[in-house]
Amino acid sequence: MSAPTLDRPAAERPDEAALQRQFDATIAADRRIEPRDWMPEGYRRTLVRQIAQHAHSEIIGMQPEGDWLLAAPSMRRKAILLAKVQDEAGHGLYLYSAAETLGADRADLTDKLIERRQKYSSIFNYPTPTYADVGVIGWLVDGAAICNQVPLCRSSYGPYARAMIRVCKEESFHQRQGYELLMTMMRGTDAQRAMVQDAVDRWWWPSLMMFGPPDDDSPNSAQSMAWGIKRHSNDELRQRFVDMTVPQAAVLGVTLPDQELAPDPETGRYRFGAIDWSEFKQVLAGHGPCNDERIARRRAARDDNAWVTEAATAYARKHES
């Protein structure tokens, strides 16, 4: 499928250079590109890849916390967690829909995820051995996601920007729920406090890696910024996250596992230690602790239930008149 303007016979097609100028002017004026507008193929491809990757992350992201749904330790926590995991499925739905406005197809994107031809956020390849992980994912992982995503509410592509507004509102709920769980656990037993600190130790560095490689090693960033798809550099967003999180850790009473973490009197921001990018690359390349498990579950959901999808399609066809 391609955009309606491209389907017209060549004779009726407006001059491509003129379309490009119109597109550039829209971006320069910080206005939105909408699905029926002409757009360069590279812009479309980049957006489909980014939105699909984001959608996949929401859907795969249901699993690490979803592993605690059946065992959540109180009725209230079970309800909160179920509502959160349900929200993530909803986010995946909006985002796949946004990708479909660019001519992509949800089933095809899902196949690409399962065949590992498209990626998802590598953070979801880490395991969740204790209930404190549920809280820390809310606080740090959703917190990092918010830092990344709030600027996307101004993304140059209209459907994506609008989807992000709703996603960000719900993510901010989730972050508070996570932080509130950790506060409650820190007021509980010694065993609970130890669980929280252990989870913080395990998730802190992977959370910093969520912002992507450093600016000098991020090949696609410049073009995405020029197109208004991306608004701030990876390092700038990472720094904002650190600055926001350090005081929250102090209130919580946990230690962030970085000896070099300290305020910088000159900039008023926090300095932090070097990130081990070799680990990031390993996980991204599919060698994290849970990559296989995450994909296997997605594959099973598709394959084991293929008969259900076929039945729904057949039924709709029989009864469409």
Partner: protein
């Protein structure tokens, strides 16, 4: 810069204060602020036991449906199944809290720390023999077809009971039922639509849906038999007589299966109550071990 900071601040303060800053964090007890006095002429022990029956059905079915989360056929179905489970969990919380409010806590308080609320003491610190759910909800899911047939049967029987409970002499139970009727109507509708699609879909889905119905129907054997507790409460104007729901349940299920081109399995002969008396198969113990494990490992913890 600038604009998105404003957005973030707007998000950050949108729900500030009042302890309502995130879903589920603004209240502790499901029945907080509700008058839980038991009206004259109602035996609190019977009322509590009855609330456990209805509450355990909801809790156990919610747990079964939650087993589909991250494994459902479509994303829309992930959302729907989680939503139905969440409704049922909400019903369970209210009903278990109602049982606790009249002092029906079984042996749960022998192991649950005093700081643990009643709903959690009952959900997490009772053994299988103290659960009062029916075999209909305790049975394993089977495939998606069997899951939807079971949901149809469970939602239909529960809706028939809840519709009658709106007139219960216990005002708390009546209010819980009134809220539940709207939810259960949606659950029944959702399940019925799937049974139609699967029964009248492909030969494969028809075969599976029929096998699901054949597996679920025997579980209805004790659906229309009242326990002694229910009989006494029917007399007191508190409970709904399950026998009185038979015509409605049989009518709805027959209609849906007929339209789905499925054969209605033979209705099982009425059997004496089992699950309602705490008699369960091993599958409930397995389900509860997962549900309760973490809470029991840390009996002094607060979550």
């Amino acid at each position: 810069m600038g604009h998105e900071e404003t957005v973030y601040e707007a998000l950050d303060s949108a729900h500030g204060g009042e302890g309502q800053w995130a879903f589920g964090t603004g209240f502790d007890e499901p029945l907080a602020g509700v008058d839980t006095t038991v009206p004259d002429g109602i035996d609190p022990a019977d009322l509590g036991a009855y609330c456990l029956m209805l509450g355990d059905d909801a809790l156990v079915l919610a747990q079964r449906l939650t087993q589909w989360v991250t494994a459902a056929p479509e994303l829309e179905e992930e959302v729907a199944v989680a939503n139905i489970a969440l409704d049922l969990l909400g019903q369970a919380r209210l009903l278990l809290a109602r049982a606790g409010s009249v002092g029906v806590l079984g042996r749960s308080r022998d192991t649950a720390t005093a700081s643990i609320p009643d709903e959690d003491a009952l959900a997490y610190f009772r053994d299988a023999d103290e659960f009062r759910c029916t075999g209909l909800v305790a049975a394993p899911n089977g495939d998606f077809g069997q899951t939807m047939v079971r949901l149809l049967a469970a939602a239909t029987t529960r809706l028939a009971v809840f519709a009658r409970l709106r007139d219960s002499r216990d005002p708390v139970l009546a209010a819980i039922a009134a809220k539940g009727v709207a939810e259960l109507t949606y659950h029944r509708d959702h399940a019925a639509r799937w049974v139609l699609r699967l029964g009248d879909g492909t030969p494969e889905s028809h075969r599976r849906a029929q096998a699901g119905a054949d597996a679920v129907w025997p579980l209805l054997a004790d659906a229309f038999t009242a326990t002694d507790v229910e009989q006494r409460l029917v007399g007191a104007g508190v409970a709904a007589d399950p026998a009185g729901t038979r015509e409605e349940v049989v009518g709805v299920l027959t209609q849906v299966l007929d339209r789905a081109t499925l054969r209605v399995p033979a209705w099982p002969a009425d059997a004496p109550p089992r699950g309602r008396l705490g008699l369960h198969g091993a599958e409930l113990a397995v389900l509860l071990a997962e549900l309760q494990g973490l809470a029991r490992e840390h009996p002094a913890a607060t979550w």
